[in-house]
């Protein structure tokens, strides 16, 4: 895998040098798109931590919205720095994740049922945000109170490069967490649980503990992503950050890229954002909805023909072409 490692190092070096490449007048725009890709890939990766073990959550919008709104409202009303507000957001989200995950694993709510319960949770958060319109701004959303100048305390910067590097670090952090989980005992345990809970429990795996653990990890990272996104856009809205729409969007990007591989969520997110931006530039405002129409079609086609996602399927193909004997031996 040393070739892969070299490619990875080269990619990171290229991304680190990104803001200094000569892009002319396009620079601000390219940076903006890249920040979005970093943040949403991070969120997608957080979702995939659960999704790959057959814990399909259709309610990650709940965690995203909780994270974004907690930090934003604490800053707007109490002037609490988003660094601490972010911690509060993660703690709150983790508590909610436990409240959801504990009964779910205690009563073996899995598969369809788990998806529908999480979907309900996502809608509850979205509707609560809308209902508490006096201080959340309701469905109009709320803007982050401006700090007036560049401020590390307020996590607000005029220069997009700061957010670019922050996004890059966040994204790498997400990949690191993914790798840690991938190489841990927890992965084997979770895979066993995903296959057959009763059998897993019978060989001594603490099913409830592992499930809650992975859910809390996934939800907390999603909340971090929500805080980061809110700080960058400096505006939060219940429909873009909570509820079924954004939850499905996260799932969709991950499935498109492939949820069983390290870079799958990133590839999927980059593709969906690139497609949306491309269609927006080509068609302008004439073809509103076209990008999502194509997403939807692609999602259906992918589920039918390439269930491992673009990146997953391509990687399998490359691996098969490169070392067929090793693969044949592994199969035998």
């Amino acid at each position: 895998m040393s070739a892969g490692r070299w490619a990875g190092a080269a990619l990171v070096a290229l991304l680190a040098a990104g803001p200094f490449l000569p892009l002319g007048g396009m620079r601000e725009y390219v940076l903006h798109v890249m920040v979005q890709i970093f943040v949403w890939s991070f969120i997608g990766g957080a979702w995939a931590l659960m999704g790959r073990f057959r814990l399909v959550s259709l309610g990650h919008g709940a965690f995203l919205g909780l994270g974004a709104y907690t930090a934003t409202l604490l800053w707007n009303f109490y002037g609490l720095t988003p660094w601490l507000g972010g911690v509060a957001a993660v703690v709150l989200t983790a508590v909610v994740a436990v409240v959801v995950a504990y009964p779910c694993s205690r009563f073996q709510v899995v598969g369809h049922y788990f998806a529908l319960v999480t979907l309900a949770v996502g809608e509850v958060v979205r509707l609560l945000i809308i209902a508490e319109r006096n201080w959340t701004g309701g469905s109009l959303g709320v803007s982050l109170k401006p700090a007036g100048r560049d401020s590390l305390f307020a996590m607000q910067f005029a220069d997009k490069r700061v957010f670019y590097y922050a996004g890059l670090v966040l994204w790498l952090l997400g990949l690191w967490v993914w790798l840690r989980v991938d190489r841990s005992m927890a992965r084997s345990a979770m895979e066993a649980i995903g296959e057959d809970e009763t059998a897993a429990a019978s060989v001594g795996i603490h099913v409830t503990r592992f499930k809650i653990g992975i859910t809390v990890l996934s939800a907390s990272l999603t909340a971090v992503g929500g805080v980061a996104y809110a700080q960058y856009i400096s505006y939060v809205n219940p429909d873009t950050l909570a509820g079924i729409g954004v939850s499905l969007r996260i799932v969709f990007a991950v499935v498109l890229g492939g949820m069983y591989s390290l870079l799958g969520p990133t590839v999927g997110t980059a593709l969906t954002i690139a497609l949306a931006e491309y269609l927006r530039i080509v068609f302008g405002l004439r073809f509103i909805g076209m990008a999502e129409t194509i997403y939807g079609l692609l999602l259906i086609l992918f589920i039918i023909f390439l269930p491992a996602g673009i990146y997953g399927s391509l990687r399998d193909l490359v691996l098969r072409l490169w070392n067929p004997p090793a693969r044949a031996a592994a199969k035998a």
């Binding site: 399909v56 598969g111 509707l127 499905l248 129409t293 939807g296 079609l297 999602l299 992918f302």
Partner: protein, 288 residues
């Protein structure tokens, strides 16, 4: 303090809403119970049917009853189409993938509707009377859909219990493998089930047109609610879904008047989540 007359009106409105929710929930539950796949996009199919009816009546000037019949037929065709194009290739896939494929359909329908028809609300105009009884109003736009949906629910019940095909459908939902061994073709039964499910979607669309204007994100309003009713009532359990529809619609309607519309939905969803935990045996009995 809220005037009791408002509460009574809210309760009655809840019953009326429950009739239509029951129609939605039974259609989805039938598919869920027989084919074992959640059509996440089910209410978005209803949305498409509502657009069809809008165009037939409001744009092309068909009489309403004819447009409604055509919409119901269109719904059945839509159901068969969804089954043939999307569901049947992934019948053997893991449940997650099946869920996501219909999620893709949801994306597709909502955004294609946005693309074709913009996000403007479109409604079919009615001039129907309203009756008053003891200070409570009974508008025909609520009574007629309620009456028709109850008749349709009874019709579905008769179809499932009194006809050969209905019996076969119920048999498949009980044991797929055994039914195939008895010589019944599951494929054909799946097709009929999808057609009936789509037909219910078309009918629900036609009835919802009485009270609601249609827009591309109409499905988000009723979709999550419909899944929850199905799960609350028990998968494939028609009576359960029927009762659950009225429980949920009463909560939404009454809490909506006492508190606020959003809080009505929040309370209904919280009740759903809690019910999933406190009554797992009643709700989860059909899970493998």
């Amino acid at each position: 303090m809220i005037d009791p007359i408002f509460l009574a009106e809210a309760a009655i409105n809840g019953i009326m809403l429950g009739g239509i929710l029951a129609l939605l929930a039974l259609g989805l539950n039938l598919i869920f119970g027989v084919i074992d796949i959640v059509w996440i996009a089910y209410v978005d199919l209803v949305m498409v049917c509502m657009y069809v009816l809008y165009f037939l009546v409001q744009v092309y000037g068909w009489p309403f009853w004819l447009g409604a019949l055509a919409t119901v037929a269109f719904g059945a065709v839509l159901g068969v189409g969804v089954h043939l194009l999307i569901i049947s290739p992934i019948l053997a896939s893991p449940p997650v993938n099946q869920l996501l494929a219909t999620g893709g359909l949801l994306f597709f329908l909502q955004s294609f509707a946005t693309f074709l028809w913009t996000t403007d609300h479109k409604s079919v105009r009615f001039a129907l009377p309203s009756w008053e009884l003891g200070g409570i109003f009974f508008p025909a736009t609520r009574l007629i859909p309620f009456a028709i949906s109850i008749v349709a629910v009874i019709g579905l019940y008769v179809f499932l219990t009194r006809t050969y095909m209905g019996t076969a459908i119920r048999a498949v939902s009980q044991d797929r493998e055994a039914m195939a061994l008895m010589g019944a073709s599951p494929q054909r039964i799946y097709l009929v089930t999808s057609a009936v499910g789509g037909l219910m979607a078309g009918l629900a669309g036609a009835l919802l047109t009485f009270q609601y204007s249609v827009h591309p994100f109409f499905g988000n309003q009723f979709g999550p609610l419909t899944f929850m009713i199905c799960v609350l009532g028990g998968l494939g359990n028609m009576v359960g879904a029927f009762v659950a529809s009225f429980v949920m619609s009463e909560i939404i309607s009454v809490a909506g008047v006492v508190w606020s519309t959003e809080m009505g939905y929040v309370i209904a969803f919280v009740v759903f989540i809690v019910m999933m935990f406190v009554r797992p045996a009643g709700i989860l009995t059909r899970r493998q």
